[in-house]
Symmetry: C2
């Protein structure tokens, strides 16, 4: 019988074509008119898992876009059970006119596949499926017990899945989760992900007079809602860059000297980064480096503000309303609902007289996530990556959020290992998304190796 | 020979129809496609002045919309020379779907003429022309020397007229200006106008990163331009309501106890006003009443603010830019260009680190204007009003601005008497503008009486 490595080589063209078929399904979860396509993509995954030899495959209802489950559990109770995660929904493709080739027609140029979802996450999530097939077709078995969980609502924040996993804890129970929806440090450098930010968000609505007024006939006598809003927003941060919301930092786990040292050791060309974002100077919480501020510290960002006249020239209006949107990225152990309440209390406390101030939630709640570098799952993954890429992975935190990882922790009590192949430069969520075919190949090999390596997993 | 009073009665229907013809010309000065209509309205005024018996009538070029000049100067050098002012351009009519009848087809309902410009200022400016005709056709002369000045760019801030009057000082020289573009206190109460606000305006443009960024991947490390803008705007006013711009009040003439006493005596239902604008409480400069804050004190109002995401839900963007628009209403003797520079200096001084802040002018410069209640022009006008309406006018200041009045003061050294018939409730600048026919009638009589009364004018 052939080795899985030979199988991957001999079946490569077929796998590539199957991956292309998968990408052709416009499974945009954000757009109701594509709900059927999301389901169709889920059905494609069901069929593909079955063809690979996975058992008990089913499309499960969630109240929203479906989840695909499957398993292969014949390795015996002394072997660990891992769960492989990914998602088959994609971001909207617009603006369409900025795509060089149609977003749902995968096109290969210079060793890259261009298409919406090519990288995030269809390219990533097929690699464990093809790896599973390679093992099963060459040896008739897997080295350990594996569950498969692919979802269709990641790009809209997985709104139904917290309840879903709470309801199906036994079915999805596992020793550890491996996510194919993950990032590399760069195109040739693998990455172990140690921390993800949580998320909470809100909108401030300030109302002054009941309608827009003439600023001459009514000026000077009432609180201007735009000005009131600026006073509230300005109060959220001290001049030195520290977030001023009372209690905001109470539950923050400050980064240890060891973590800060490791973070500092990861190469970072700060001058090049500054040039790429085009700011004159960086600004943020005192006492932390630029990278620490983004990776290790909670943040508060204004995402939008509006009110009154926005056209050319002048309209001497005293507006009725003004609004602002804010999101905070949170770190362990900040609790998103608690932080929301602290923000709300601060905003209402700083509301000037003469206006009505309301606060409403806007973002889904995302919990922060922290995983030790020496976690046994990370150590095995790091060893596989080292062998696969010829160099060890860098261990990083990110400023972004992946809510599902916290659901796995909270509902299933399982940690999640980053084991994906997307790169930050691959236009994820943007026109001309692409995936590197070299990493598609590496990814299949990597999963074949990980299925073997994880046999040693012990909590 | 008949008295002008009988002439006004006998010719009333013709005057009404002529006024309607005038209103039918869509002389919207703000819209380039209506430039010919503005000129057509000017030509209508030329013809109408000639028909009334006014001499030396001409359409004068200004570099923008034209000015109509005419005079009748045969009363002799011992008689005063007054100049009657008005404007034949109108505001745009949109939104058209909110009009009950077409904006440029005058329609009479319940003693009111509905049309764009019916009140502001076509209805006002024809009354002195018809009054002039009544005098000239019945007596062959006017009681005093009169110049006529009607312009076509009032609704866009008369951008060419400061230069125009500086160039034609001798031609427009007069002892006093009477403006038909004026307001009544209410539909039955005349008004003497003692003060107008000046105006200066600017836009603040704040730029952070060179493009919108992902708030997770880039949050916490740079100054957020929205937040920077809120810090700048919030710094413009102290918490107690006083404008905080350094030097802002240096040239302000504080209202005298006599003016404050008079202002307090004018009936004002503050509770009803509060209910009409729908605010919980008033707010403004400490030490002044609501009416004083609007009429007698300079104001600073935020007219608009915008930046980043304004849609439903969340977009976790760290935006590149944020903007705000501000106008200040100024009182004597604040100098608008000086105040602009003080604002600019304050804004740049309060710009936080890490963003680029620019300030650009948006509004035309309007100078504040102040006229004593016992000014001889006001006294004569008040006497006429008292006789015409059976009660004395109220003497008020307004929070709004009429830049031309300051041009007359600066270029011609002439004060301006408010002698117009528009009411604040007549939807000026809004859909369904109307003019009260009763005040159209009163207005013609009033101008006939004023031409007689102003004979006694002495500076």
């Amino acid at each position: 019988m052939a080795h899985w490595s030979e199988y991957l080589d001999s079946e490569y063209d077929r796998f590539l074509n199957e991956y292309f078929d998968f990408v052709r399904i416009p499974s945009v979860s954000a757009l109701p008119e594509h709900a059927d396509d999301v389901r169709k993509a889920g059905e494609w995954v069901v069929d593909r898992l079955k063809a690979a030899g996975v058992e008990h495959v089913e499309l499960m209802e969630t109240g929203g876009h479906p989840v695909v489950y499957g398993d292969w559990l014949h390795a015996g109770p002394d072997k660990p059970t891992i769960m492989i995660y990914g998602h088959f929904d994609v971001q909207p493709a617009d603006p369409l006119d900025l795509w060089d080739t149609p977003p749902f027609e995968p096109t290969v140029r210079d060793g890259r596949v261009y298409a919406r979802g090519a990288s995030d996450d269809k390219g990533g999530m097929v690699t464990p499926i093809f790896a599973t097939e390679a093992h099963l077709k060459t040896t008739g078995k897997l080295p350990l017990n594996v569950k498969y969980c692919f979802e269709g609502q990641e790009e809209i924040g997985s709104p139904n899945l917290e309840t879903f996993f709470d309801t199906h804890q036994e079915k999805f129970k596992c020793d550890i989760v491996i996510t194919s929806d993950g990032l590399m440090h760069d195109a040739d450098t693998p990455m172990i992900l140690l921390g993800l930010k949580g998320l909470t968000g809100l909108q401030i609505n300030v109302t002054g007079p009941s309608s827009d007024l003439h600023s001459g006939l009514h000026g000077g006598v009432m609180q201007n809602p735009i000005e009131a809003l600026t006073k509230i927003v300005a109060s959220l941060r001290h001049a030195d860059g520290t977030i001023a919301v009372e209690g905001f930092f109470d539950e923050v786990i400050d980064p240890t000297p060891a973590i800060r040292k490791k973070t500092a050791e990861i190469p970072f060309d700060e001058a090049a980064y500054q040039q790429s974002v085009g700011v004159q100077e960086f600004f943020g919480e005192p006492g932390y480096t630029t990278r620490e501020r983004n990776w290790l510290r909670p943040t508060l960002e204004l995402n939008g503000i509006w009110g009154g006249f926005q056209g050319d020239g002048t309209k001497t209006v005293l507006p009725s309303k003004a609004h602002a949107k804010i999101t905070c990225r949170l770190v362990a152990n900040q609790d998103p609902p608690t932080i929301y309440k602290l923000l709300e209390a601060h905003i209402l406390k700083h509301a000037p007289p003469g206006v009505t101030v309301e606060v409403e939630p806007t973002a889904g709640t995302g919990y922060p996530y922290l995983m030790a570098a020496d976690h046994p799952g990370n150590k095995i993954a790091a060893d596989v990556m080292h062998e696969l890429f010829g160099k060890p992975p860098v261990e990083v935190y990110v400023g972004g959020s992946i809510p599902i990882v916290a659901f796995f922790k909270n509902s299933l009590n399982s940690d999640t290992v980053n084991f994906g192949w997307s790169c930050g430069d691959e236009n994820l969520h943007a026109p001309n998304e692409f995936f590197r075919l070299e990493n598609f190949k590496r990814g299949m090999r990597g999963y074949c190796m990980l299925l073997e390596g994880m046999v040693e997993y012990k909590e």
